[in-house]
C-alpha cells in the first residue's frame, strides 16, 4: 500500500505512456502482419517506412509551419505525409523488388529486404540528415489534460491521450470491417489463406498484393508520422521499430488483426512499465513477453494451429 502511495503516479504515467506507445507500434505491426499474410515475405524494410513516415511528416510539418500555417494544420499534414509516403514507396518497393522475391527461399527474402532496409536507412540520412528533427506543434497546440488517477491527477498531453490511441482504434475498426464485410477485404483474406485457390476463384492475386502492400506501407508511415510529434527523430528509429513490431506480430500470431492490437498493448505497456520501474530492462521486456508467449503457444496468443485437412 505504501509503495503504491509513493509510486501510484508512476504507475498511472506508465499506463498512459504505454497506451500511446502501443498505438504507434500497432500501426506498424498490423501492416507488417497484413503484408506477410498476402506475400509470405517478412519485410524487414517495413520499419524504414515508419522512420521515413516520421521524418516526412516532421519535415513537411516544419515547412508548412514556416509558411505561417495555423498550428492546427499540423494534424492533417501528418496524415498527408503518411499517405504520400505509402502511395509513393509502397508500389515502388512491391513492384520492383518484393514481387520478384515471392517464390524465392525465405533466407534470400530476408537478405533482400534487409538490404532494402539498409539502403532506405541511408537514403533517409541523405534526405533528412542525422541531426534530431523535432516537430511538436500538434502536441503543443492540443495542450495537456489532467487525467484523474485516484486522489491525484496526472498531466498528460491530449495528443498522446486522444489522437494516438484514437487513430489506432479507428484503424483497427476500419480494418476489421473491411476485411470481414467488403469484397475487397474478402479477397485479401482469400489470398492470405490460399493464394492459388484464390486465383482459381478469379481473384487477381498480384493486384490484391499490391494493394495490401501499399496499405501496409501507408499504415507504417502513419505510425511514424503520428509518433513524430512525441519524439525527436534520430537515425536508427526504423530498426528499433521493426524489431518491436516483429515481437508484436509473433506474440499475436500471424493473420490476427485484433490480436495484434492486444499484443501491441501488452508489449507497449510492458515496455513503459519497465521504463518507469526498472529502466535497465526496457529493451528486454518486449522480447521477454514474446518468448514467454511463444514457449507456451508457438502459434502466438491468437494464432490458429493448422486446420485439419480431412
Amino acid at each position: 500500500m505504501s509503495w503504491f502511495a509513493e509510486n501510484g503516479l508512476l504507475v498511472g504515467l506508465a499506463l498512459l505512456d504505454g497506451l500511446s506507445y502501443a498505438a504507434a507500434v500497432f500501426m506498424v505491426a498490423v501492416g507488417l502482419n497484413l503484408v506477410f499474410g498476402v506475400m509470405r515475405v517478412l519485410n524487414v524494410a517495413h520499419g524504414s517506412l515508419y522512420a521515413i513516415g516520421g521524418y516526412a511528416a516532421a519535415s513537411l510539418g516544419l515547412f508548412v509551419a514556416s509558411l505561417g500555417a495555423p498550428p492546427w494544420a499540423g494534424l492533417p499534414v501528418l496524415l498527408a505525409a503518411a499517405v504520400l509516403v505509402g502511395a509513393l514507396l509502397g508500389p515502388l518497393i512491391e513492384r520492383l523488388l518484393l514481387r520478384r522475391m515471392q517464390d524465392q527461399e525465405p533466407v534470400l527474402q530476408l537478405l533482400v529486404t534487409f538490404a532494402l532496409f539498409m539502403i532506405l536507412e541511408d537514403l533517409q540520412k541523405l534526405a533528412f540528415g542525422v541531426q534530431p528533427v523535432v516537430f511538436d506543434a500538434p502536441l503543443k497546440w492540443l495542450g495537456t489534460v489532467d487525467v484523474p488517477f485516484g486522489a491525484d491527477a496526472i498531466p498528460f498531453t491530449a495528443y498522446q491521450l486522444y489522437v494516438l490511441p484514437g487513430v489506432a482504434l479507428a484503424t483497427l475498426a476500419i480494418l476489421a470491417v473491411v476485411l470481414r464485410y467488403t469484397l475487397v477485404g474478402r479477397m485479401v483474406v482469400a489470398v492470405t489463406v490460399d493464394r492459388e485457390a484464390a486465383r482459381a476463384m478469379g481473384i487477381d492475386a498480384a493486384k490484391v498484393t499490391l494493394l495490401t502492400f501499399t496499405a501496409g506501407a501507408a499504415l507504417a508511415a502513419l505510425g511514424g508520422a503520428l509518433a513524430a510529434p512525441t519524439v525527436s527523430l534520430v537515425p536508427g528509429v526504423g530498426a528499433s521499430t521493426i524489431v518491436l513490431s516483429f515481437a508484436v506480430v509473433a506474440t499475436a500470431g500471424l493473420g490476427q488483426i485484433e490480436g495484434a492490437a492486444v499484443a501491441a498493448l501488452l508489449i507497449g505497456l510492458g515496455r513503459s512499465f519497465a521504463v518507469y520501474v526498472a529502466p535497465e530492462f526496457e529493451v528486454v521486456v518486449p522480447y521477454a513477453i514474446m518468448v514467454t508467449v511463444l514457449l507456451f503457444r508457438p502459434q502466438g496468443l491468437f494464432g490458429v494451429a493448422e486446420t485439419r485437412r480431412i
Binding site: 479477397m187 483474406v189 490460399d194 485457390a197 482459381a200 476463384m201 478469379g202 487477381d204 480431412i310
Partner: protein, 218 residues
C-alpha cells in the same frame, strides 16, 4: 468444349506432363484416371492456368486460352474444385459459394439465380449455409467445393479426386449429385480425376488413363 493439346509441364525442373492431349466435349463427362503422382492434379492446374506450359495449348470452345491468366479463367466459365477442397475457413459456406461470382462482378439477381441452382443440385449446402467452412467435415467440404465450382463453371467444371477420403454414405450422395448434373447442365464439359475407375464408371462417358504424365484412352 475443353481441350488440352500436347501439354508439357515441369514442376521444379521435373517433367510431370509429357505431351498430354485430350478433349472434353460440351456436355461430356470425362474421367481422368491415374495413380498418385501420375499427373492428374497437374493436368487440372494446367487447365486452370496455375502452372506454365512448356509446350502445348489450352483451348476452350475453340478459343486459345493458353495465355489467359489464372484469375481470368473463372471469367471464361471454368469452375474448379481442387483436391484438398481449399475452402476459406473463416468464411461461411454461403460466402464461400458467393465469392467467385462476386469477384466476377456478376449482378445480384444473377448471383442469386446461380446460388439457387446450386442449392437445387446440392440441397445440403443450403443447410450448411450459415456455418463457417472450417467447421465442416472433409466430405461436407467436398460438396461445398463442388458447389463453388458450379457457381462459375458455366462452360467447364474440373473436379480433382472428389471421392478421395469420402465416407461411403457421402460418396453415394456425391455420386447422386454428379448424376443430377448431367440433366441440369447438358452443355457443361465436366472432367473428373480419380485413382480408381470403379467409382466413376456409371457417371462418365469417356475414361482417359494417365500414367507418368502420358495419357491413353481406355
Amino acid at each position: 468444349m475443353l481441350r488440352l493439346e500436347g501439354a508439357a509441364v515441369e514442376i521444379a525442373g521435373v517433367t510431370v506432363l509429357r505431351g498430354v492431349s485430350f478433349t472434353v466435349p460440351p456436355g461430356g463427362r470425362v474421367a481422368l484416371i491415374g495413380r498418385n503422382g501420375a499427373g492428374k492434379t497437374t493436368t487440372l492446374r494446367t487447365l486452370m492456368g496455375l502452372l506454365p506450359l512448356r509446350a502445348g495449348r489450352v483451348e476452350l470452345d475453340g478459343q486459345d486460352a493458353t495465355h489467359v491468366p489464372a484469375h481470368h479463367r473463372a471469367r471464361l466459365g471454368i469452375g474448379y474444385a481442387p483436391e484438398e477442397r481449399r475452402l476459406f475457413g473463416s468464411f461461411t459456406v454461403r460466402d464461400n459459394l458467393l465469392l467467385p461470382a462476386q469477384v466476377l462482378g456478376l449482378a445480384g439477381p444473377e448471383i442469386a439465380r446461380r446460388l439457387d441452382a446450386v442449392y437445387g443440385l446440392l440441397p445440403e449446402l443450403k443447410e450448411f449455409g450459415p456455418r463457417k467452412a472450417a467447421g465442416l467435415s472433409g466430405g461436407q467440404g467436398k460438396m461445398v467445393a463442388l458447389g463453388r465450382a458450379l457457381m462459375v463453371g458455366t462452360r467447364a467444371v474440373l473436379l480433382d479426386e472428389p471421392f478421395q477420403g469420402l465416407a461411403p454414405a457421402l460418396a453415394l450422395r456425391y455420386a447422386e449429385a454428379l448424376a443430377r448434373l448431367r440433366a441440369a447442365l447438358p452443355d457443361v464439359a465436366i472432367l473428373i480425376t480419380e485413382s480408381s475407375p470403379d467409382l466413376l464408371r456409371a457417371l462418365v462417358d469417356t475414361t482417359i488413363e494417365i500414367e507418368r504424365g502420358e495419357v491413353s484412352v481406355a
